[in-house]
Structures are given as structure tokens and as C-alpha cells.
């Protein structure tokens, strides 16, 4: 039970229409999945645009990861609608003053104009090669994927590379928009003091970046071990370093948000204090800030500052990545569920019980977290990202070279 006496001057009063939560765990997963997409893409863009050659081995894996998760991102959203059959109206008759109405467009833009196009340019040479070594229906499948562009001359590959680079440049603000916008959906509501913050889109974006980097880091570790290849420790160190810097920014902003709220101490301070010292205590301070933030930050700092062996560093990166993923999931939970646990009367708290089964239960959520991994597995089978493409001398000049 919560220490309700903290609301000293009032009884626990929840508006009668607020007895149940409107947005369930599905809406926790939606910003989580979208964030992983944006983060994975931004890691990939480091290679492409910023020429961060050391993280090149993760480049194509990061792109496919972004695609697999992007395909799944709208599933929790659409499933949660009261009338999923009307979902298309969000795009056909959008109400432009609504932040949510823009989702369909941002999503489609990102999927069609950025990710698919970039992946196509990047894997086209591989696809052409596949058409040469396969037969029958598989060959037709790969031929279809090339869209008939089978020219792999040096000039054509250079064009692919240039186009890919251009798309990435467009893609960075698009990824920022995709996830910043998700934060805006929450941050722009003046009805809810837990959400209403100009920092919300920025915090969402930074937590997206740390989660995306962590995910690709883990996938890189797992797939390399699974394929019995040698881990590129230089790559891991570089990814770890990016993760550390992103985490510093992320935690700084989250800290600023907390300090600002405590110092400003508006009319909501009692009920929000009650919330974060009660129902959300473990998920905020335990999971989000300590296990998912400070602890991995400490580990990452240790890998950078100490002379730890490669094996130790690898383990620390893996643990940090896992913890950050957990912490960001907790952050999404704290925002989405936390923002609905207090009444807009600011005089009372309600509760949320996560069911095991059912459309909005734990099992359905786990399925939604596993589904993109399955899709990624299929994608990796179709177009293996362990690219020879970047390493080949005839590939475009700006292409990533594994180090």
C-alpha cells in the first residue's frame, strides 16, 4: 500500500471515470519498439555518414534490426485500438492538429523512403549475386528483390553507395523525428503533469539511442558467437564508447527532468512524489536509473578507463547492453503506466495489474518482443548482413570496411 497520508490535506480521490487505465502494456511496447528502430538506425548512420569505420561490422546488421523492429512497431498500437478496422482513417482523414495523426506519415516515410530504400541500395549487389547462384523459384524471388536492376559495374556500385549515403543523411533527421515525435505525443499533453514536459521528446530520443545501440551490440555479439567468427574487439570498444556517451547524455537529461520537477514543485508535486516513492519506486530508481543507467555506465566507464582484458570487456559490454535494454523498457513503463496511475484530480492514485494471458497480458507482450527477432532471423537468412559487400575492392569508395 502507498503511504496515503503523504497527501496530507486530502483523502484519496480518483475521478469516477478514471477507475481503469486507458493505455496498457501494449502502449509501453510501442515507444520501446519504435525507440529501438531509431537507435539502431542512428548507430548505422555513424558508419555511413560519419565514417566511423570501427563500428562498420555492425552496420548492415543494424539496418536489418531497424527494419525488423519497424515492421512490428505499429502492431501494439493497432491492436490496442477499439476499432482496428478504422485504423486506416488515421492516414485517410488525418486531423492535423493531432500529434498521433502524424504517426502514419512519419512511419511510412521512414519505412519506405528511408529504411527500405537504404537497405535496397546497400544489399543490391548481394541480391544480384544471389540471383547468379540460385535457381528456380528462389532465383525469381531474388530477381524480384533486385527490381530488375542487375548492373553491378563499378559505376553502378558507386551510385548505390552515393544514394545510400544521401538517404542516410535524410534518415538521421527522420529517425530523430520518428522517435522525438513519440515523445511529443506524451510531452504535449497539458492535462498530465507526469508527461507534460518539453524534455520528453529529447529524453525519448536519447533513451531510444541507448536502447538501439545496446540491441545491435547484443545481436552482434550473439550472431558472431553463433557463426563461430572472431569478435572484432575494436568494433565492440567503439560501440561501447558510443553507448557510454549516449548514456551520459540520457542520464543527465533524465536527472535534469527529476531535479527540475522537484525544484519547481507545482500543484502536482505531492501526488507525483507519492507515485514515485510508491508504485513506481522500484521501476524508476531500481530499474530505470540504477540497473539500467548508473550500473551500465559504471561498467562502460571501467572498460574505457581500465586495462581490462578483451574477454572481460566483451562480458561487460554484453551485460551493459542487456541492462540498458531493461532500463529503457522500465523507463517506457514508468512514463506510460506511471502517467496513468494518478487521477487528474491530483488527489489520488489508482493501480494497474498486469495480466498473464489475454490480448494485453504478459504473454502477448513477450510475443511482441520476440516477433521482431524472428523477423530479423528471416531477414538475415534472406540477405545475410555479414557483408562481403563492404569488403570487396570493387565496392564504392565510401563503403564501410571491416577493420
Amino acid at each position: 500500500m502507498f503511504p496515503l497520508q503523504l497527501l496530507a490535506q486530502s483523502s484519496n480521490y480518483v475521478f469516477p471515470n478514471e477507475k481503469e487505465l486507458q493505455w496498457s502494456v501494449l502502449i509501453v511496447l510501442y515507444p520501446y519498439l519504435t525507440g529501438l528502430v531509431a537507435g539502431a538506425f542512428i548507430l548505422a548512420s555513424l558508419v555511413r555518414v560519419f565514417d566511423a569505420k570501427k563500428v562498420a561490422p555492425t552496420y548492415r546488421l543494424a539496418l536489418l534490426t531497424a527494419l525488423a523492429f519497424l515492421i512490428c512497431a505499429p502492431i501494439p498500437l493497432v491492436t490496442h485500438l477499439g476499432h482496428p478496422e478504422r485504423a486506416i482513417e488515421i492516414m485517410m482523414t488525418p486531423h492535423l492538429s493531432s500529434a498521433m495523426a502524424i504517426f502514419g506519415f512519419v512511419y511510412l516515410w521512414y519505412l519506405m523512403a528511408v529504411l527500405l530504400l537504404e537497405i535496397w541500395f546497400d544489399f543490391r549487389a548481394d541480391l544480384v549475386k544471389k540471383t547468379e547462384v540460385t535457381r528456380g523459384i528462389v532465383k525469381s524471388f531474388y530477381t524480384a528483390l533486385t527490381l530488375g536492376f542487375k548492373d553491378v559495374s563499378k559505376k553502378a556500385l558507386q551510385f548505390d553507395d552515393k544514394a545510400g549515403r544521401f538517404i542516410t543523411i535524410i534518415g538521421i533527421p527522420s529517425a530523430v523525428l520518428l522517435h522525438g515525435y513519440v515523445g511529443f505525443i506524451f510531452g504535449s499533453l497539458k492535462s498530465n503533469p507526469w508527461w507534460s514536459s518539453v524534455l520528453m521528446p529529447v529524453i525519448f530520443l536519447l533513451s531510444a539511442i541507448v536502447s538501439g545501440i545496446s540491441l545491435v551490440l547484443l545481436f552482434y555479439l550473439i550472431t558472431t558467437k553463433y557463426r563461430k567468427q572472431v569478435l572484432d574487439i575494436g568494433c565492440l570498444d567503439a560501440v561501447g564508447r558510443y553507448l557510454m556517451f549516449a548514456l551520459i547524455f540520457d542520464l543527465t537529461l533524465e536527472g535534469l527532468d527529476i531535479v527540475h520537477r522537484l525544484y519547481e514543485a507545482g500543484e502536482w508535486v505531492e501526488v507525483l512524489g507519492l507515485l514515485s516513492s510508491g508504485y513506481l519506486y522500484y521501476t524508476i530508481f531500481g530499474l530505470q536509473l540504477f540497473l539500467g543507467g548508473l550500473l551500465p555506465l559504471g561498467m562502460l566507464a571501467y572498460t574505457q578507463l581500465s586495462k581490462a582484458s578483451e574477454a572481460v570487456r566483451t562480458k561487460l559490454y554484453a551485460i551493459s547492453g542487456f541492462l540498458v535494454l531493461l532500463g529503457v523498457l522500465a523507463m517506457r513503463w514508468n512514463v506510460v503506466i506511471g502517467g496513468q496511475l494518478f487521477s487528474k484530480s491530483l488527489r489520488g492514485l489508482s493501480t494497474y495489474k498486469l495480466e498473464m494471458i489475454g490480448q494485453e497480458g504478459i504473454l502477448a507482450s513477450l510475443f511482441l518482443l520476440i516477433l521482431p527477432i524472428i523477423i530479423l532471423f528471416v531477414l538475415v537468412k534472406i540477405i545475410p548482413p555479414w557483408g562481403t559487400h563492404g569488403a570487396e575492392p570493387e565496392a564504392g569508395q565510401g563503403d564501410p570496411q571491416p577493420v
Binding site: P16, N17, H83, S98, K344
Partner: protein, 261 residues
């Protein structure tokens, strides 16, 4: 790690940041400018009535808190008239009991539909009832956030939900600062008070106003100087709920005490 290998060159970084900023800036600026222009055109072309309202009729409600006895008739009438699902409320009554030690006991058992139990505590300095309903805000946050425009304000100032258009995303329920909206499981859409639009368009008053035994609810066309609601608002000091949120709430309260949430 090699010292001479820069992960990011400065010019690349600047270039990309520059391009990103320009792209985002152009997009956001364009959208903001467009909305600004369209809203200004809309405001300019909206003629105001002689009494200063956007249209006539312009429906509003006033509530005289001192007159409410918390009998629950309005909640019952609303529930029957509008087939409101059990456990949800288009209108409800709150009771505030202020004790000698300054604490406030707020309650609304079943939305006050069956009235309220007697107060047993003797250390009560003051108690009163506050009927609540949708404020039919002129700048309503719920209308703003609806992704498909299923929530809208009618030309006579009533905020409504088009149940055949609502996708059921519940964003409007989150955006309402007053807890006036609820999820209708039967319709699988958002739901709320309509000011009994089906009645008022026939010249009747909303069900809650009709049954109130003490006349605590005053309804009418506020753009008409002679209407009871215009008169009431003119002659009494009134206020709206959460005025700092600037939602343009149309339900005005006389005797609104600071304890009211």
C-alpha cells in the same frame, strides 16, 4: 585503439547536423506557419455575435454550487437518458467535507448516483457538493488530439464524439484534464456528455437540468442576453475548473471553493 583514426570528422559532423537542422526546421517551420495562418484566417472569418460569442446559439451551463444538495437525480437522469454504461459517468457529483484540522474529504460514491451517506464526523467546518460534467471547452484538448477528427465542436459550441468515426485510440481520454471522458466498452469508442444534444436541438434542456430539484444547473444559449444562463453569469461571480489550463471551458461555477479539484 589507433590515435590517428578519427571516428567522426568535424566537417562531416557539422555538415550532417546542419542538414538535419535545416530539414527539421523547414518541416516544423512550414507546418507551424501553415497552422498559424489557417487558424488566423479561421478566427478572422468567424464573426462574433453582439454579445461576443462565435455563434448564436452558443450553448453553456452554469452551476450554482450552493444550491446542489447531492441528491443524485441528475446522474440518474443522465444515465437513463443517454444509456450510460454502468460504472461510467457523463455527469457526476463530488462531495467535499472540510474538517477542523483543514483536511478535505472528497468522495463520489458511484458518481453520486444514489446520493451520499451521512457524514458521521462531527469535526466538520464546511461541506458542499459539486456537480461535474464535460466542460465543452472552446479550445478543447480532446478535440486537438483526436487523430481522425472524430471528436469535434459543433457550430453551436458543443463538443461531440462521432461514434461511427472514432478509432478508439483513447488519446482524447488522456488529454481531458477533467476526467470527463470515459471508455465505452459497448461502442468500443470514447464517450462523454453531449449536453443532451438530441434534446437541446428540440428546444428542451439537458436531462440533468430538467430533473434538478433545486435549480442548481442553469442551461441555455449564452449568446442570448435574456437566457437564464447569460443572466446568471452576468449577475454572479463565476469561475471555471482549472482556469490556468486555458481550455475555454463553458461550464461556469458560482461559489467555486479552492478545495475543488
Amino acid at each position: 585503439m589507433e590515435e590517428n583514426e578519427k571516428l567522426i570528422t568535424r566537417s562531416d559532423l557539422l555538415k550532417t547536423i546542419g542538414q538535419s537542422v535545416i530539414l527539421i526546421g523547414v518541416g516544423a517551420g512550414g507546418y507551424a506557419a501553415w497552422s498559424n495562418v489557417t487558424s488566423k484566417i479561421a478566427k478572422k472569418t468567424t464573426k462574433r455575435t453582439a454579445t461576443g460569442y462565435p455563434a448564436s446559439p452558443w450553448y453553456a451551463m452554469a452551476i450554482d454550487i450552493e444550491k446542489c444538495i447531492g441528491c443524485g437525480s441528475c446522474v440518474q437522469a443522465c444515465s437513463v437518458e443517454n444509456d450510460v454504461p454502468e460504472g461510467h459517468f457523463r455527469t457526476w457529483i463530488e462531495r467535499y467535507v472540510i474538517k477542523e484540522d483543514g483536511s478535505v474529504d472528497i468522495s463520489s460514491p458511484d458518481g453520486g448516483i444514489h446520493g451520499f451517506p451521512e457524514v458521521s464526523d462531527e469535526n466538520v467546518t464546511r461541506a458542499f457538493f459539486v456537480p461535474k460534467l464535460c466542460n465543452h471547452c472552446d479550445d478543447s484538448p480532446c478535440t486537438q488530439v483526436c487523430p481522425v477528427g472524430a471528436t469535434f465542436e459543433t457550430s453551436d459550441g458543443v463538443v461531440m464524439v462521432d461514434y461511427d468515426w472514432c478509432v478508439g485510440c483513447r488519446y482524447c481520454i488522456q488529454a481531458c484534464p477533467y476526467g470527463s471522458r470515459f471508455w465505452n466498452e459497448k461502442k468500443r469508442t470514447a464517450d462523454k456528455c453531449t449536453l443532451c444534444y438530441h434534446r437541446i436541438k428540440k428546444g428542451q434542456v439537458p436531462a440533468c437540468v430538467e430533473v434538478c430539484p433545486t435549480g442548481a444547473r442553469i442551461f441555455g444559449d449564452i449568446s442570448d442576453k435574456e437566457s437564464p444562463v447569460a443572466k446568471f453569469v452576468r449577475e454572479n461571480a463565476t469561475n471555471v475548473m482549472k482556469p490556468h489550463l486555458k481550455t475555454g471551458a463553458k461550464v461556469q461555477y458560482k461559489g467555486l471553493s479552492k478545495e475543488v479539484v
